[in-house]
Amino acid sequence: MRVPSPWCSKARARNEPAPTAGRPLGPLDPDSRRVIGAASSPGPEPLVRPRVAPPMLVIRPTSGWRSLDLREVWRFRDLLLMFAVRDLKLRYRQTALGVAWVVILPLLGAGVFALVFGRVAKLPSAGVPYFLLAYAGLLGWNLFQGTLTRAGGSLITNAPLISKVYFPRVIVPLSAAVSACVDTLVAMGLLVILLPAYHVALTPAVLLVPLWLLLLQVLGLGLSLYASALSVSYRDVSHILPVLVQFLLYASPVGYRAAQVPHAFQAVYLLNPLAGLLEGLRWSLLGGTPPRLGAVLYAAAVSCVVLVVGAFAFRRMERRFADVL
């Protein structure tokens, strides 16, 4: 009976002396691949065939601003989806109502707004049921708010991964944004029932809905990129963010229309890009007076600038994430 003994090290026989042992290592000339091969094959050994293929990956320090490297993000698109799917699945797992929460929450919110602003404060609703007005506002708001809070805290919640695995870090807040977007689209689906129920007819302006959603997300993502990157070093951000969100909720036309803001404050009010975007979304869904073009262009420009600045700032701060987290 011959049983392989656990003490026997089978690998031993293969352990030839290391090829790198005691060999002087030459300097690397990044411009010449030949040098690598030649430098590491000194002595009487047969000369190493110089490698023609360039390295698949070169790791070297970077500094200052750097490119967004969107190609790398595209390479990791599967991971982006997996993260988004994970977030969505986890949020509603172990809940009795499951995905229904996506619809219930804005319904409840709209109900409260309709009660407070519509019934108690008796704000005019320009011919649209107040409930619908608030629901449309909340759809846009939830998209912005969901993106900002989920993506803003995403780096902290995924800290164990970030300090252990490489992937483009921007995948994390991006996937949070995707999951917020999915929630909003589901909630928007309810309008198919709500609009006929309230006898509101769609106008051609509905075609602009994707544009509003995109801009809202661009704004939310831009802010959250900056916030999440900053939150890695300064956890203060996670305390400030909810307060900021609360403030913005009342400073934006979510539960009321921008037209309700006194004329004296209109100019200041419209500095908030959310005003233009939320009014635009509401107009597209429910009709009524279109938002002023100037306000819309201003909001779009601010959103794009915020995203670009946020993305570059993220890339700049990104290289410290794994060291700090």
Partner: protein, 437 residues
């Protein structure tokens, strides 16, 4: 195995960590206030070079082990090569697709099912979805969890969890594999399975860089080893040599008498010195199965009765051998006050190679020790051929430390139905009796 083609070229790689600013800002507000007050002031930081000017090559098919003590820069090197963090200087070129095997179960989520976790964990490790689809069945088979695929993994036994996690990682298709202490988990059987898989990977011609503390694993897997010390390469070469350097570095290549860990002391007696020798030559490296002589110098202050005893412990402080280093009849009773030398031969059994500690104590049975020095000596048992099969043992928790040769008996095949004579239950008087069944 290794060819001449390069897989990894590292040149002057350095990584500097900021140990925190000399001026610490606890909150954002403090930072903002400081920035406003001193807009042009640049922060000064305490720094630490976790890696300093590291230069090496790894050839295709080579299995390189990276060893070194905690803080030597192993993990930092791993993190830089796997792109988790950027180097501060230098450059690394990787010729081929890189895959990382890290702590088993990274990216797993307890609420998700086995199937979902395979996809999530696979994507995190860098696999494409199509790739996971293709190897899905293989992974499930390797992990042996097909019945529980759609159960959330938090209901898994820890064994199933670890198997699944490793299965995903093990099917990563990469030309260069970076492995960080993955084998530190699971039971012995699973560790063997992992090691086997790793050996397959190594033999399939892929390049492996293996960061580990575990001497046994590195010796078993790696064709060469690199020793890091304070962020610099202290040695590159054969694993055995690397570990010799490693032990020397940790001051572990045996250690002369040291009484700092004296736990008890009576005024009457003291161990002044102790040493081991082989053939009259003082030795700290003892070949397995040899008979070193322990020389113990004892200072007797008052005439007293005592016995000298020796305890040999493993690296993990587990006592494995006990020897009464006494004269023929047990107890020294008539030593005059003064300094005496006690010499006794220790017929050591075949022992696993590695580090052992020797405790020396003076005392009487059933009485408090008079002198007890923990870790008085440290010896390094060198590997030796223990048996005809030429096996070499390495100290490990799994295989024990003392090797005895089992002697196959000629009549060991017993016909069915017959009661074999086998020693069993202890009868309480110190003898073994055959179990009457």
């Amino acid at each position: 195995m290794s060819s001449n083609e390069l897989a990894i070229a590292v040149r002057g790689l350095s990584k500097e960590y900021l140990l925190g600013p000399k001026r610490q800002f606890g909150t954002l507000a403090e930072m903002v206030v400081h920035r406003v007050k001193h807009p042009l002031h640049r922060q000064k930081h305490e720094t630490l070079w976790a890696l300093r000017d590291v230069t090496f090559d790894v050839r295709r098919g080579e299995v390189l082990g990276i060893i070194g003590r905690n803080g030597a820069g192993k993990s930092t090197l791993f993190k830089v090569l796997s792109r988790i963090t950027e180097p501060s200087a230098g450059e690394a070129q990787l010729f081929g697709r890189v895959g990382c095997l890290l702590e088993v179960g990274t990216g797993f989520h307890g609420q998700l099912t086995g199937r979902e976790n395979i996809y999530l964990s696979g994507s995190i490790l860098g696999m494409r979805r199509k790739e996971i689809d293709r190897r899905f069945d293989e992974m499930v088979a390797f992990a042996q969890i097909d019945r529980f695929l759609d159960t959330p993994v938090r209901h898994y036994s820890s064994g199933m969890y670890v198997r699944l996690a490793f299965a995903v990682a093990a099917h990563l298709e990469a030309e260069i594999l970076l492995v960080d202490e993955v084998l530190a988990v699971g039971d012995a059987e699973f560790q063997d399975k992992c090691l086997g898989k790793m050996q397959d990977v190594a033999q399939s011609g892929r390049t492996v860089v293996f960061v580990s503390h575990n001497e046994e694993t590195v010796r078993r897997l790696c064709s060469s080893a690199m020793l890091l010390q304070e962020g610099q390469i202290a040695f590159v070469g054969h694993p055995d040599d690397a570990f010799r350097h490693y032990r020397a570095q940790r001051n572990e290549a045996g250690r002369e008498f040291d009484a700092t860990r004296r736990v008890r002391r009576s005024p009457d007696l003291a161990i002044v010195h102790a040493a081991l020798s082989i053939d009259g030559v003082r030795a700290l490296e003892i070949p397995s199965g040899s008979r070193p002589v322990l020389t113990c110098v004892v200072e007797v202050k008052r005439r007293t009765r005592f016995a000298a005893e020796v305890l040999i412990r493993t690296r993990e402080s587990v006592p494995i051998l006990y020897a009464a280093a006494n004269p023929a009849h047990g107890i020294y009773s008539d030593l005059e006050p003064g300094t005496h030398t006690i010499r006794s031969e220790l017929p050591l059994p075949a022992m696993a190679a590695g580090r052992y500690w020797i405790d020396i104590m003076l005392g009487l049975p059933q009485a408090p020790c008079m002198d007890y020095i923990e870790e008085a000596l440290a010896i390094d048992v060198l590997p030796g051929a223990h048996s005809g099969s030429g096996c070499r043992t390495v100290q490990s928790r799994r295989h024990g430390c003392v090797f005895i040769e089992a002697i196959p008996l000629r009549d060991s095949t017993v016909p069915r139905g017959a009661t074999p004579q086998r020693p069993s239950r202890h009868d309480g008087r110190g003898a073994l009796t055959a179990d009457a069944e």
